[in-house]
Amino acid sequence: MPKNRFLSLLVVIALVIGLLAGCGVKGTGPSAGGNAGQGSGKGTPKKELRIAMQYDLGTLDPALLTSVTDKQMSSNLYNGLVRYQLGTVKIEPDLAEKWETSKDGLEWTFYLRKGVKFHRGYGELKATDVKFTFDRLKDPELKSAPGKLLAAIKNIQVVDDYTVKIFLSKPDPAFLDKLAGSVGYIVSEKAVKERGAKYGQQPIGTGPYMFEQWNPQQSTTYVANPDYFRGKPGLDRVVYIPIPDATTMYNAFEAGNVDMIQVTDPDKLAKYKKDPNIIIDEKPGLITRFFGMNGAIKPFDNKLVRQAVIAAVDRDGILNNVFKGMSTPATGILSPDVEFALKGIFQPKYDPKKAKELLAQAGLPNGFKTTLYVPNIDRFTKPATVIKENLKAIGIDLEIKVMETQSFLAELRKAQLPMFMLSRGQDATPDRVLFTWFSKKGIPADNWANIDIPEVNQWLDEATSTLDQAKRQELFGKVQQRIVQEDYYYFLDHENHIYAMKKYVKGFVGDPQRSIRLDNVTVEGEK
């Protein structure tokens, strides 16, 4: 018996730790031998890029993925029939060299590029893979949420190995944009069938990088695809590291544990801009931050009241003091890169005196009490406090209610909140956003202000079902004009997507959808 049991206890604990360190942790992936690529370590390839991500990998199956992080990671793994030109939302060929469409817009023929190979010996991409990819979205077993975007596809016909025809049940003006998104990525029929439910964590694509390994909550590693049809990519290895906590992410960047991060803190941005070893890439996003007033709740049924609120808000104050130039002021509903977006239609003047007059005209000279609901994220709570002060100046007593984001969204989707603040992402085409936010059919899930204007409903129905681009431009234009005139929403700004990277990272081009495509990215010089 040992003299001191405490000592032996300590020894046991030390042994357990040693044992665990030796055998504890493993990753999933086809080649489990790879390393996580963290730290400065020896033996790591020269051209490695480590990118901090907001979340961990969920699934890289294009039929299932919905989170921003999964979309960003999949953008370097797959190709669609078409894609966006780097840095823009203009369509260009990808797996399809060219395509044509019938007059009625119901029949699309795509001519595939020859010699495109799937990763890891899964063979050449053929028209049957395209058919399989889109048929699969309708599989009731799979319950694909993004698949709903392509619900207009009626059937797919394989003409020959390199030609495929897609038939739609009704014309869809945004069809190519949908194909350019992650739901349009083409998967290997053989790989999906072989890997079954594990496919999402062991994906096979045709893109510049191949999936190598996933270590849950630590890293997702890609390696260069030597057979990529546009030539071998610029990096040997890409490591995505999930760091949900913003402070930790900045620390990791400053400590040199990651090479590239997304910046959302104005003070950090100012600091990094002064640092000669850091490159900043900024791009206005396909996103609008706004606050809205619910027309179904008094006193916001009165347009004068809504106008008073809009005149009372000091936007410059918010943008300059809170966001310090990290966003682009909104002069319309949609982000300027969205097709048919009208710019310069929303230019509210900060005029508290006029706001007070409007309130008096509305029969509320002494103001009123109401509540603004915001998600518990500082990019909403901070401007909300400024708005509270602004409204106080004209006698409106605004209570701010901060809620956890998911709970907030659940409440919001009942369309019963008097005032709400949020930012919403958009697509390259305005169809979904304008239709769901402002048509009667969007109540309650998306039309949270309860806007129901017969002309607008009709314009939206027409615009989203015609292929006549001139007509669409006219109708969507009218919708945007009219909605701005009705003053249900204050469109604050378009948040910029800002990336900071160490100066040895070359060739990164950001885009309005923050897809973190690594098309021309490489690493040069000393780390």
Binding site: F6, K26, Q218, S219, R424
Partner: protein, 313 residues
């Protein structure tokens, strides 16, 4: 002894059932819909209804609870709503990390806490005692995430000695050790402070006992008096503190895992709550509760080992 263990294990059943009820009710009371969280902006109302039906979320709550308990009795924890992987797999992927972190935290707490307490007790009123007091008070008062950020700023950003994030390269022992140092110190710091305080007061009490005077009178060396006679008797309250704090360390691991972006059960749980991933939240909570109960049982067994006066009956 065997009987004692069996009885204690049986007694855990109502505790765990209570945990299940509490988790179930709490999850279903907070607003937010896993289906909306999962499908996002793009889903139609019909699709939301369909998925909710598939997941059984449209059935009455009592029925959902019964089937939840039934599944657990069969040993099935279900699949994650977000990743569609089995919950058991999600947990077993992360548990080694959390266990390693908590164990290292305890190790550091004991390794530094007990000597600190002994020194403070034997040199009562000295400068060393004062230093130990200040250190312990800081440890008890400072929030875990704050300590973590400070350590990270100094050792990772300024000095570049240790990584600010991650758990090191799998298989590379040195890098795993490197990545463990800061989180383990962060986690162990406050427990170390508690242990130091407890050791000091417990030792002071024991050192006043008659048998210690007797031992000294017999002419035993001070070392033997301290370590063999005094410490052993002072150890029971210390073991209690260590045992109770293992549970606390599992909880504290949530914060430490977040600050150092380390994989682990805590982070899995937080992510699952945000995504309203019910099966994962239930699975992790149940798992942690079970571990907590087992650790408590283990603590009681160690009592008996240390003190023959404690009977396991």
């Amino acid at each position: 002894m065997f009987q004692f263990v069996v009885r204690r294990l049986l007694a855990t059943i109502p505790t765990l059932l209570g945990v299940m009820v509490a988790v179930f009710i709490a999850l279903h009371l907070i607003p937010g819909d896993p289906v909306v969280a999962m499908l996002g902006d793009m889903a139609t109302p019909e699709q939301v209804v369909a998925v909710r039906h598939e997941l059984g979320l449209d059935r009455p709550l009592p029925l959902q609870f019964v089937s939840f308990v039934e599944r657990y009795l069969r040993g099935e924890l279900g699949n994650s709503i977000r990743t569609r992987r089995p919950v058991a797999e999600e947990i077993s992927d992360r548990f080694p990390h959390t266990f390693l972190l908590a164990a290292a935290g305890v190790f550091i707490a004991v390794l530094f806490g007990i000597p600190l307490g002994i020194v403070a007790a034997t040199r009562r009123g000295s400068l060393l005692d004062l230093v130990s007091l200040v250190l312990s008070m800081t440890g008890i008062a400072a929030p875990v995430f704050w300590v973590g950020l400070l350590l990270s700023m100094l050792f990772a950003i300024r000095l570049h000695w240790l990584p600010a994030i991650g758990a090191g390269k799998p298989g590379d022992l040195f890098s795993m050790f490197e990545a463990l140092v800061l989180p383990a110190f962060t986690l162990g710091f406050s427990t170390m402070a508690l242990i130091a305080r407890m050791t000091r007061s417990s030792m002071l009490e024991v050192l006043r006992e008659d048998y210690v005077r007797t031992a000294r009178a017999k002419g035993l060396s001070e070392k033997i008096v301290l370590y063999k006679h005094a410490l052993r008797n002072a150890a029971i309250p210390i073991v209690t503190i260590v045992g109770l704090n293992i549970g606390y360390l599992l909880g504290g691991a949530v914060l430490v895992e977040t600050v150092f972006a380390r994989p682990g059960l805590g982070k899995l749980l937080v992510d699952a709550i945000l995504a309203r991933d019910y099966p994962v939240v239930q699975g992790v909570t149940f798992f942690v509760a079970t571990s907590f109960v087992l650790v408590n049982l283990l603590t009681d067994l160690i009592y008996a080992l240390l003190d023959p006066q404690v009977r396991l009956s």
